[in-house]
């Protein structure tokens, strides 16, 4: 007798929808990590909303996830999510964004969301390149990389996105690569529960566009093995000199601060104060 096997995460999908990502893309691993985290927390998926922008990362929730999904303009997902969260603070709002989305066109919204400490969870897929548009240099592309817009090698230094988030005031920040799928799942669950702005950066393989840059074209496995070999936990990295961690990917949970007031709660406080001032 033929036995029908359902994937445990199938219930989170809108239906039989084709994923639009390239073979070997890290989006699948990340999508699983997000959904496993929600499964682990046993939370009602209807109480989640996903906001994403233009770029490969935008297609993680849109249209696949079977809950409220808002797919918006390039770089602005955090700003839309801010309005949504302020209007409906009782739902969990998760933003998926890319590295260009986050740090180039949407850099301003990113740092201000960190500063405001609004209760959003931001999943930043850092593939170190503009994938969808054809492999152009991004603010996260390593120095001297040859891309379609840096034929002589890039002459600008990359951002360390997690460090930007910490400096800007995010209250929970973690970074993993797609190789550490289990750690990633745990950090995402923690981020969902965190009452404040949480930023999860994921170094993710783009075998088609970034693979080309590092001589691993269409070779996702090699890229994952490279992540495995170069990753070093932040606890270990702290004991090493900057030179020793130069070529490493520092991963782990960087900060978790529960003391900073969260924005939607501050709004509630202001409403109370405003009303009581009126009544005086």
């Amino acid at each position: 007798m033929e036995k029908k096997i359902n994937h445990p995460l199938q219930k989170y999908f809108r239906g039989p929808i084709n994923y639009t990502t390239c073979p070997g893309c890290g989006n699948g691993i990340i999508s699983q990590a997000i959904l496993w985290a929600i499964e682990d927390l046993a939370m009602d998926f209807d109480k989640f909303a996903f906001v994403s922008g233009i770029g490969c990362s935008g297609w993680i929730p849109s249209p696949s996830y079977n809950t409220d999904v808002l797919h918006v303009t390039h770089g602005r997902s955090i700003a839309f999510a801010t309005g949504l969260k302020l209007a409906t603070p009782n739902i969990k709002v998760i933003v998926t964004a890319g590295d260009g989305d986050t740090s180039a066109i949407g850099g301003n919204h990113f740092i201000h969301a960190c500063r405001r400490n609004i209760d959003l969870t931001m999943i930043c897929v850092n593939n170190q390149i503009y994938g969808m548009t054809g492999g152009q240099v991004a603010p996260s592309t390593p120095y001297h990389s040859k891309t379609t817009t840096t034929p002589y090698g890039s002459i600008e230094r990359p951002f360390d996105l997690s460090q930007v988030a910490i400096s800007a005031g995010a209250t929970m920040v973690a970074r993993w690569t797609t190789f550490q799928a289990r750690q990633l799942r745990k950090s995402i669950a923690k981020a969902i529960l965190h009452n404040g702005f949480s930023f999860i950066e994921i170094i993710s393989q783009c075998p088609v566009q970034y693979g080309k840059v590092i001589g691993k074209r269409n070779n996702a496995v090699d890229m994952l093995m490279d992540y495995k070999n170069r990753s070093i936990n932040v606890r270990k990295a702290k004991k090493l000199s900057p030179d020793e961690v130069k070529d490493k990917i520092v991963v782990g949970e960087f900060i978790e601060d529960k003391q900073v007031p969260e924005l939607t709660q501050e709004v509630k406080r202001l409403r109370k104060e405003a009303v009581s001032r009126c009544q005086k």
Binding site: V51, R76, A87
Partner: protein
């Protein structure tokens, strides 16, 4: 003044404050904005008032975020508004297109100022008539109302919210620095006079192909957080929200349904104020503040026995093409008075066809008020 604006009262208010109070009366619960002259008073007032009415005020990092915030809040189920001036509108344009495409009700107040570029922040100019309609990419329709007084700032803001809710679309209030900053008497409506529209909401989840977009009679809106599994994208989509960015037929359907949603309801949307038009040989077409100088001109002209009337579109967009066409068959000349180099003029000329003469008459010095004499002079020339 805790739960709402008081109905049935009279106040002496600045145009921008009247706009803010109108928003509260309309049920606005979310305001996002970035400081800009001459619109800032709206934000000042609402930064206090929003919290008093259980709403939210946020000063965003830029105008791009302001429009994004109000669209996000609107999907959260609340009435939302932003206010800015021309430069801010320029920054908002991409997301205004997204609001149109995702059929998101929201109100955008533009207190226009001198331009181009930074221009003259406190000089009044009706310089953004075209950018309100054509500023975002592609073909789309927009609704824009042009107030001429603080009372109209109040009334038209409520009307803008009603239209936004009825047609699930962004609506502009096209004010300018003088209307925004002038102070006049504002009558708040009686409770029974106050008519508020609410968006048609999707009540129950109806499966993955539920029809939530692209209905010329306005599809129900699946507000977030209610288990309706809303599938929203600014990319080209079908009635169920599913993206299809490669099939021109789907794009054709999306563009036509979105534009028809507004155009098929032009009669409901368009409002015109006509004054002394019935026997007029010359009609003066104007909107916003300019219409006040025109009314004065008509008064003087009529005293002198000159048959002049005023034709004032309250609704600048969608453009009242049929109404102007009818007008052009009744009069010999239409003089278009607008405080710019003739932004609505080509539309008037095109609607009038060859039925009558159409002349553009900007004020002698852009950014100043018309003197009735300069309009009279022109009338005498054409008679």
């Amino acid at each position: 003044m805790i739960n709402n604006s008081k109905t049935n009262k009279t106040d002496f208010l600045q145009g921008n404050i009247a706009c803010a109070e109108g928003a509260i009366m309309a049920g606005c619960k979310f305001f996002a904005g970035y400081p800009i002259t001459p619109a800032s008073e709206i934000a000042h007032h609402l930064s206090k008032r929003m919290f008093e009415v259980d709403g939210t005020f946020i000063q965003t990092e830029d105008e791009i975020a302001a429009i994004a915030n109000i669209v996000g809040a609107s999907w959260g189920g609340v009435k939302s508004m932003t206010a800015t001036s021309g430069p801010g509108i320029s920054l908002m344009q991409e997301n205004i297109g997204l609001a149109v495409a995702t059929e998101t009700p929201c109100v955008i107040v533009n207190v226009q100022r001198g331009a181009p570029s930074t221009g003259s922040p406190s000089v009044h100019l009706q310089g953004d008539i075209l950018q309100s309609k054509f500023g975002s990419q592609g073909d789309y329709q927009i609704i824009a109302l042009a107030p001429a007084s603080p009372q109209e700032m109040f009334d038209f803001t409520i009307k803008a919210f009603n239209l936004a809710e009825q047609f699930r679309t962004p609506v502009f209030v096209l004010s300018d620095s003088l209307v925004g900053h002038m102070r006049e008497r504002v009558n708040f409506p009686l409770q029974e006079e106050l008519i508020l529209s609410e968006r048609k909401k999707l009540e129950h989840y109806q499966g993955i192909h539920q029809k939530i977009f692209l209905d010329e009679e306005v599809a129900p809106m699946p507000v977030f957080g209610k288990g309706l599994k809303a599938n929203i994208t600014g990319s080209t989509h079908k009635e169920d929200g599913f993206r299809n960015v490669s099939d021109p037929k789907i794009m054709d359907n999306a563009i036509k349904k979105l534009t028809n949603k507004i155009l098929k309801h032009k009669e409901e949307i368009i409002e015109i104020n006509e004054h002394e038009i019935d026997d007029a040989e010359v009609a003066i077409l104007s909107y916003g503040l300019t219409s006040r100088a025109v009314l004065e001109t008509v008064k003087i002209a009529r005293k002198n026995g000159i048959k002049v009337g005023s034709f004032r579109p309250i609704t600048v967009w969608p453009f009242p093409e049929e109404e102007v066409e009818k007008l052009s068959r009744r009069v010999k000349t239409i003089i278009v008075c607008e405080n710019n180099l003739g932004q609505l003029f080509p539309f008037v000329k095109s609607a009038a066809c060859e039925h009558c003469k159409v002349i553009s008459l900007p004020p002698k010095v852009l950014g100043t008020l018309y003197y009735p004499e300069e309009i009279l002079e022109k009338i005498k020339e054409v008679i």
